[in-house]
């Protein structure tokens, strides 16, 4: 095959691509932030002493973890409006669906991180007189954060990549932009290669940040 590679059109279209990149970052940031909050909330629920709370936590995790994220996005974008009469825009539909999906995985990561702190640490904190909140705040969570960073990084990278699914409901992120360009310029090879390259750069930055954090936090343990 003798394809003549030509990436020049990407430079001419840099504003359009930049807009796609910003949309990807915006969606990824929203989903990571909301996913972490949901994850913390439902991890606490799963670790609660109340059986009802534990049930709610488990139900959330099992529900959203077991539905393909694409189905959740379609449901939010195409099914929800019929039921409620309100049409969310593509960003809202995608961020809600991806956050709920990611939150289920993050809840499990946080739960295992908290449970990885040995019993002796909990008992020592209780023996000093700490209540549950102080024990979590000063003893368990600072240590759990260290254990959680590697799996958390994995999940964050997964979330960033999952944002491409939003292209299916015409949210103008990187993949959608590439698709538009490739149709316009008849250059699918260069367009999709460029998308891949952007993600490599983006996720390399994420993993560098994670290694930096891990080194800082592990200094003394």
């Amino acid at each position: 095959m003798d394809h003549e590679w030509d990436f020049a059109f990407l430079l001419d279209q840099r504003d359009f691509i930049l807009r796609g990149l910003m949309a990807t970052l915006r969606l990824a940031a929203a989903c990571v932030a909301a996913g972490i909050v949901l994850g913390l909330v439902f991890a606490s629920a799963r670790l609660s002493r109340s059986a009802a709370m534990r049930f709610i936590g488990t139900a959330y995790v099992e529900f959203f973890r077991n539905i393909p994220v694409l189905v959740q996005i379609f449901w939010c974008y195409f099914a929800l409006p019929i039921l409620t009469g309100m049409q969310p825009d593509a960003f809202v539909a995608a961020s809600v669906a991806i956050s709920l999906y990611a939150g289920a995985y993050l809840a499990e990561i946080f739960r295992s991180g908290i449970q990885s702190i040995e019993k002796g640490q909990w008992e020592a904190a209780r023996a000093i007189g700490f209540g549950h909140v102080a024990l979590m705040r000063w003893v368990v969570l600072p240590q759990a954060v260290r254990h959680v960073i590697p799996p958390l990084t994995n999940q964050v990278m997964e979330i960033v990549k999952t944002t491409t699914v939003a292209s299916t409901i015409a949210y103008g992120e990187l993949l959608y932009s590439a698709k538009v360009l490739s149709d316009q310029e008849f250059r699918p090879i260069e367009s999709y290669t460029a998308v891949g390259a952007f993600f490599i750069v983006l996720l390399t930055l994420v993993s560098l940040l994670s290694s930096f954090l891990e080194r800082r936090l592990r200094r003394h343990v």
């Binding site: 002796g120 640490q121 008992e123 020592a124 904190a125 209780r126 023996a127 000093i128 007189g129 700490f130 209540g131 549950h132 102080a134 000063w138 003893v139 600072p142 240590q143 260290r146 003394h220 343990v221």
Partner: protein, 264 residues
């Protein structure tokens, strides 16, 4: 002398296992009481019930004249509030077999955190208090180190200082030297002995008969979840009245060295 701890008819069950079967116990101010017993006799469980790391099924625990919890309609069964138990634990120090220092804090951080977060002390005041207590157990020079850099004996002395910084009315020691290499046992026992001599009220679970003999005011031998025999160290250790106590002591003193320099 006033009573710091009173335990009345304490029962603890783990499922079908009836671990404590009606323990009665009293510790006076300034007294050091050593609890001996074979593994499974319930001695650690007893200690852990005193500060409610294990919840007793039945019985009354009174600390400094104040009954913990309130009676329920079931005879002997008490109900406790979290706030009350947290406040009680702040007044009763505990030292664990596995030290359980907080690995993400410096040595002084470990000692300061309780006074700062529970007694509202400023960082400066808490640091002064921490240094005083680290000096008490002879480990002030490690104040800025992290626990991972310390030997087991040093870590355990920090754990003692951490408990002391809460200025507890009594201290519980749960096999504080059992996880230590033999050459590190002495430094910890010495710290405990000095504490006892300073007049700290102590309830000590240990296998160190020498410590019991030399430091304890009273020795309690636990067997099958009951107080089997108790008395002064001389009575219980040298002249035990009951068969199980004798068996226990025999197994602990099967091999002994003659006194160094004492000739053979």
């Amino acid at each position: 002398m006033s009573e710091v701890l009173r335990v009345e008819n304490l029962h603890k069950r783990f499922g079908p296992l009836h671990v404590l079967r009606g323990i009665n116990l009293s510790v006076k101010k300034g007294e050091t009481v050593v609890i001996l017993g074979a593994s499974g006799s319930g001695k650690s469980t007893l200690l852990r019930c005193v500060n409610f790391l294990e919840m007793p099924n039945e019985g009354r625990i009174t600390v400094e004249g104040k009954l913990v919890g309130r009676a329920t309609t079931k005879p002997g069964v008490m109900a406790y509030s979290n706030a009350e138990l947290n406040a009680l634990r702040a007044r009763v120090g505990m030292v664990f077999q596995q030290f359980n220092l907080f690995p993400h804090m410096t040595v002084e951080g470990n000692v300061m955190i309780g006074p700062m977060k529970l007694r509202g002390m400023s960082a400066d005041a808490a640091r002064t208090l921490a240094h005083d207590n680290l000096r008490r157990v002879g480990i002030l020079e490690k104040a800025r180190e992290y626990p991972a850099r310390l030997s087991g004996g040093q870590q355990q002395r920090v754990a003692i200082a951490r408990a002391l910084a809460m200025e507890p009315s009594m201290m519980l020691f749960d096999e504080a030297t059992s996880a230590l290499d033999p050459e590190l046992v002495g430094e910890v026992l010495l710290s405990m002995r000095r504490l006892a001599e300073e007049g700290m009220t102590m309830l000590v679970v240990t296998h160190e008969l020498g410590f019991a003999y030399n430091v304890a005011h009273r020795v309690i031998f636990l067997e099958g979840g009951e107080v089997h025999e108790q008395g002064t160290p001389q009575q219980v250790l040298l002249n035990p009245q009951r068969e199980r106590t004798r068996d226990f002591l025999r197994s602990h003193t099967l091999f002994r060295l003659p006194e160094p320099g004492g000739g053979l």
